[in-house]
Symmetry: C2
Subunit: 393 residues, 2 copies
């Protein structure tokens, strides 16, 4: 018999049991964060790409507990602002383990980061490069290439990176300034489904490495960025398929021990499956007697945790607390959040199926909500507080 789509596809029964026990008596909505899984994910990535220096993208889940867990594992950290720098330093992380990866920086913030000891910066423009040279002299700089982000679940825009021709010019310029043109970086798009994207990007890097060598500039590093997947509704290749192919792409372009230093910035793939959001059904209703679909309103929504459902980009696996693998009588519903905002609808085109027995007050588990949920919450929109969280012990 074909296995049905059930929670056991994502979580072992033992864990589901533990979670059901844990949530008793707790007011929803909240997020449960499993630090053991964070450790597991770090270990897995480290063993699959042993030559890569891991820079965890703090923005994916900036909880102190998560950052601290990764710190103990030996991770480095990609920070997006001086506020994330302050957080990491407060947690006792030394500045040599931080990379200021946001190419958009106020000069005051560059100066602040430099004062705090940060010596690795990303850039994608002459304007920013000149300020790094001025306010963070002697630092290593990674130059971000602009890629197309097709086949990524969370869309990649043209916001970051510059055209390879301009990157080339930028590096020539850098070689005349008081900075170290250290390497290249790119981002293929978050939750990238096409592993070939890395192939193209790495080939571009190879091309630039060679072209710059003509000018006696030897780049040393490639930052592969993020893009590795976590587990949402539509499955991807397993992580080891990604890492094997990416390793192959690197070895093809940089054979015979020429491999540059490799950095990687996992966010979603490091913490996505470490979170389970627990929400209650506030109401199930119809708009008219002839309405084809019921509306199911939850106590979490776009503004308190699920902003990545914008354009229905990220499709989380969602299960009823009482679901069994044998549920037959299911129906499609539209899922919406609790605020008075008409755009607070999570899924209308893509319709989730639930057993007809689901009723008001029942709980749903929204899996793989460990990344890009907590810190995206609004501060009290419609009065609803930001999402609480619990650390699973």
């Amino acid at each position: 018999m074909k296995e049905k789509n059930s929670i056991s596809k994502y979580l072992p029964n033992k864990e589901v049991k533990k979670i059901k026990q844990f949530i008793k008596g707790k007011e929803t909505p909240f997020l449960i964060v499993d630090l053991k899984k964070v450790e597991h994910n770090y270990n897995q990535l480290h063993s699959l790409l042993p030559f890569a220096k891991i820079y965890y993208a703090v923005k994916a889940n900036p909880l102190d507990e998560v950052v601290k867990t990764l710190e103990k594992k030996g991770s480095n950290f990609d920070v997006a602002s001086i506020y994330e720098i302050d957080q990491c330093l407060r947690l006792g992380i030394t500045p040599d383990r931080l990379s200021y990866g946001n190419p958009i920086k106020k000069k005051e913030h560059i100066a602040y980061a430099y004062k705090k000891g940060i010596r690795l910066y990303a850039t994608d423009s002459f304007e920013d490069l000149e300020e790094i040279a001025r306010y963070a002299p002697g630092s290593k700089v990674l130059f971000r290439i602009l890629l197309q982000g097709g086949n990524a679940d969370w869309p990649l825009s043209r916001k970051f990176g510059a055209h390879p021709d301009m990157i080339y010019q930028l590096i020539l310029k850098a070689s005349k300034l008081n900075v170290v043109p250290y390497g290249l970086s790119f981002h293929v798009g978050s939750q990238q489904r096409d592993i070939g994207s890395w192939d193209n990007a790495i080939s571009l890097c190879k091309y630039l490495f060679d072209a710059l060598r003509q000018h006696k500039i030897q780049l040393k590093a490639i930052n592969l960025g993020g893009g590795f997947p976590t587990r949402y509704v539509h499955s991807t290749h397993p992580l080891d398929v990604y890492t094997k192919l990416v390793t192959k792409f690197i070895d093809e372009d940089f054979p015979n021990g020429e491999r540059p230093e490799i950095l990687i910035e996992p966010g979603r793939s490091m913490v996505g499956d470490c979170g389970v959001m627990v929400t209650s059904v506030v109401m199930i209703s119809r708009k008219s007697t002839l309405d084809k679909h019921k509306w199911m309103y939850l106590d979490c929504g776009k503004f308190n945790g699920l902003i990545e459902t914008l354009d229905e980009s990220i499709k989380y696996p969602i299960f009823w607390e009482k679901a069994t693998a044998r549920d037959r009588n299911t129906e499609k519903v539209i899922l919406a959040g609790p605020t008075c905002d008409s755009c607070d609808i999570m899924y209308e085109k893509y319709q989730y199926k639930f057993p007809k027995g689901v009723k008001e007050g029942d709980k749903l588990f929204i899996l793989s909500t460990g990344a890009y949920t907590l810190s995206y919450c609004s501060i009290y929109f419609n009065g609803f507080p930001p999402m609480k969280y619990y650390i699973l012990k």
Copy 2:
């Protein structure tokens, strides 16, 4: 000579001067809120629709200072959650001035609201109605009609309201429960440009009033909801054109002293033009040497104040601090925010023009940012704090 698009179209010179003085030495980004304007807007609406009971939609701008200002003017309040109820009560507003306008409510929250003295509720489903009857017995209920929200800047979905046929059934049901079927409510869509929308909605109300009278049910009130405009880039009719026509629509359908009690829930139109966001240019750059347009990165973005730029729905008037009415040499730019999120771009299709003299560190004024900005902010996404605010004295 044709007047150019300048800040003086929106703010008198005196006010601009005052703001320029006020912002000196303050670190951006922040919002300036002008309470005198809130008072002015209340007075204006009250004098244009003297027969309407005003319920300010707290969610539009929930600052204590704003709510308190309106409380003193005699406003009532539309609240979206028990948290907004708690806020209003904390500020000394009596519960008879509150309407719990969110049709999506946990039963525990209905019971809580009832305990706190709330006796006016909105609903759009049998499920919610039955819970109101059970947990808030004897309360007045407004039934929300589902409308199409075409021609509104901020899109109206099918999330709220029920089909008129179902509203009819709901009210029949209500007449057999321990609640008072008090009236109808609707929402034509926020920043609605087509005043005819109210005509259609009011006619629907008239039809339902008549149909229900056959069952000896006399509805008493119509809640016109929100939808009146504030001043963004694309101009609308002035408020008095809206109010005159809406009054006419009501009088046509309810002539000869039959006019029901009229409620109105202004949010955007009450506070939109009471806020000026002050932001700094973090960087201006290009993606390639042949790039047609420059990118201008600001220190505020989608996640710290400007979420309503989603799909470029709301287009705020934006001006350079040093702009003069004589600026000739302007160019189009793409406007993006400070986070590392690729979707943090405010305007790419609709391109704002700025004088070529704008440079990094300069300030921009984003006008009409008094509604749906502060409380929509994320809590520390990418580490960036929620937006600060100052009250203009």
